[in-house]
């Protein structure tokens, strides 16, 4: 081994510039590969981070319109879901999968005033479970609890955005907790907490107990939507099968075609995140392909330069063969040189790529864009891990061997008689 690399070093040392220029192409190829994969990882991580405040194993259900005629009824009929649907959802039919069920109702266009300030908002009637399902972040005070529900208390949890408006721009939300706000219809609500707004609750501004809202606004049996958590559905197929089973039962109850996906609408966040994962993996594959093609030009360069080396060293290889070198020994020599060049320069490129990823991480990773009042981070942790480094190492060895194959074959074919050729 030591002899082999000494020979390689001797050969490379005699052609420093040419080796460096060729090596640059390989380094560039690997640099691009690492940077691309880093960006891919950054996008993946940012999606994960931005999705991070939403529970994944949650489905939402709401009423739509039928799209096919069924049971003598025409299509286009509006479906409204109600508390019976909530009971069915929470009932024994789905006990194997569904954990917690939270219905919501809402009343929009409500004017709320506090002192001299007032604003238009939406009241959302929710249950305490809603908080966990949507990962509601409480900034001050608390979320709604079972006592609020049981007592139909007139309490509210206010969004940070609305709280800020009511406090005349102040973010000292504690000032608002324990105070009362008044709606335009004369109802006084006690603020028990302030929550941080996030994308999953874009329109929601005031959370009040479900029972309270239902009582005040005489909502009857109808609910706006049902949110429930579930477990035990791992694959996409399992998820789809469950959605179909669930939909069929609810559709039948509302006299809609059991397979009509627009009648009772079901939105599965888990399936969406599976699709997102799929998309991310596809992106990763695409980036690998682009990186590999960039590297390919470097490999061709190494192959080319090795061909020239073999040509130049024909006489020397003849001498080596005359004094006993087997073709295998020469093949080993050339492949070792090709692998060394690709390996060393590939690693330089890889290190440079990783350095750039780290710099991007330091500079851009901390930046976040503000989209509609939400913090949105474009690229998060755009770095590659040890796994990619190992994959790249393997790739370089394979690439170097491929680059050395044709030149090595040429070297092996040098005839020992070349040694006698006067030069």
């Amino acid at each position: 081994m030591r002899n082999l690399f000494q020979e390689v070093w001797e050969s490379v040392r005699r052609n420093k510039l040419r080796t460096a220029l060729t090596g640059f192409a390989v380094a560039w190829g690997l640099f691009m590969l690492i940077v691309l994969l880093g960006i891919g990882n950054g996008l993946r991580h940012s999606t994960e981070a931005n999705m991070g405040d939403i529970s994944v194993n949650v489905m939402e259900v709401w009423g739509g319109r039928t799209s096919v005629p069924y049971d003598g009824l025409q299509e286009g009929r509006r479906i409204r879901i109600d508390e019976t649907d909530v009971r069915i959802t929470a009932g024994p039919d789905f006990a194997d999968v569904i954990d917690e069920v939270a219905p919501t109702i809402s009343q929009s266009g409500i004017r709320v005033s506090y002192g001299k300030r007032s604003l238009a908002t939406t009241l959302e009637g929710v249950t305490p479970e809603f908080s966990a399902m949507n990962k509601i972040q409480i900034l001050e005070g608390r979320f709604l609890n079972e006592k609020d529900m049981a007592g139909k208390r007139k309490v509210a949890v206010v969004s940070s955005r609305d709280a800020e408006n009511l406090l005349d721009g102040s973010t000292d939300y504690a000032q608002l907790v324990g105070r009362r706000v008044r709606t335009d219809s004369g109802i006084s609500l006690l603020v028990v907490g302030v929550f941080k707004v996030d994308r999953s609750s874009m329109g929601a501004s005031f959370y009040v107990p479900y029972a309270t809202l239902r009582g005040i606004y005489a909502k009857g049996q109808y609910v706006d939507d049902i949110t429930f958590t579930f477990h035990g559905l791992a694959s996409e197929e399992e998820n789809e099968a469950f959605e179909n089973r669930y939909r069929a039962i609810l559709n039948t109850r509302h006299r809609a075609d059991p397979t009509d996906v627009t009648a009772v609408r079901v939105f599965n966040r888990f399936r969406q995140s599976l699709m997102m994962d799929k998309g991310m993996n596809l992106l990763n594959v695409g980036l690998w392909i682009i990186g590999l093609f960039t590297l390919l030009s470097g490999i061709v360069g190494v192959s080319n330069i090795m061909l020239i080396t073999v040509k130049e060293r024909t006489h020397e290889f003849g001498i080596r063969k005359a004094i006993g070198a087997t073709p295998g020994a020469l093949i080993k020599l050339i492949i070792a040189e090709a692998v060394s060049i690709t390996g060393v320069f590939g690693y330089l490129g890889m290190i440079a790529g990783m350095a750039v990823c780290e710099v991007v991480n330091l500079v851009l990773g901390k930046n976040s864009m503000s989209v509609m009042g939400e913090e949105f981070r474009g690229i998060v942790d755009p770095t590659v891990g040890v796994d990619v480094a190992l994959e790249a190492t393997l790739l370089l060895i394979v690439a170097g061997t491929v680059a050395g194959l044709i030149p090595a074959w040429k070297a092996a074919r040098v005839r020992p008689i070349e040694a006698l050729r006067a030069d």
């Binding site: 005359a322 087997t326 020994a329 020992p416 008689i417």
Partner: protein, 221 residues
């Protein structure tokens, strides 16, 4: 008989067929000191190539130490050359980016001899040829005579049965030529190495004990 050639024919097919060796039959005993003489184009280089297993022949039989040398694989050929034959070339054919001692070591490298052992052996041979102080010098730092002595050390290091020398004094001045020939004669005497020297120089041929003349691909001893 160490070398036994029977009716060797060789034709080159470069456009027009060229019949270079026309039934060469030749025997050389172990320990002989032989010169092969002939004008250029006589076929002496081709004969040397065949003797050195650097080239194939078309018909006939070549036995080296009793073994038939015919249609060998590249591997076998390399192995025979490595163990049985030492080469000395007119242009020395040292590898320019290797030091004297590294050049001498090279045949042992292809035998798989350990680094330490082959270095010690190479130093020993350089010492015997009076080049100990030049061991770490590169070929371009040495005179022609010194280079040829390095090449001789390289040829000797594997203890070959035969040394094939192709115009060994061709690139040397007359004084150095005499020294090199004396050295070869001495090696033949002391080491009992069979020495075959291809030359067109009669003064070189005189130093050998037997001269084989070749003309138009036919031996006329």
């Amino acid at each position: 008989m160490l070398i036994d050639l029977k009716d060797i024919n060789k034709t080159y097919n470069n456009g027009q067929p060229l019949h270079v060796l026309k039934g060469v039959t030749l025997g050389i005993e172990a320990g002989e000191f032989v010169s092969i003489m002939g004008a250029s184009g006589s076929g002496k280089s081709t004969l040397l190539n065949i003797l050195g297993i650097l080239d194939n022949y078309d018909t006939g039989e070549y036995r080296l130490d009793g073994k038939l040398i015919k249609d060998l694989s590249e591997r076998q050929g390399a192995d025979y050359r490595n163990r049985m034959i030492g080469f000395i070339f007119q242009s020395f054919n040292l590898i320019s980016f290797k030091t004297a001692v590294e050049n001498v070591e090279l045949p042992l490298f292809y035998q798989g001899v350990s680094r330490r052992k082959r270095h010690a052996l190479a130093m020993e041979y350089l010492d015997r040829l009076g080049l100990k102080d030049w061991a770490s010098h590169y070929p371009n730092e040495m005179s022609g005579g010194q280079k040829q002595r390095v090449a001789i050390a390289r040829a000797l290091i594997t203890h070959p049965r035969i040394i094939l020398a192709d115009e060994p004094t061709g690139a040397l001045d007359s004084k150095t030529s005499v020294e090199v020939m004396d050295l070869l004669a001495q090696l033949n005497r002391e080491e009992k190495v069979t020495m075959i020297i291809v030359t067109h120089d009669p003064t070189v041929a005189e130093k050998t004990r037997r001269t084989i003349r070749i003309k138009d691909g036919i031996i006329e001893e």
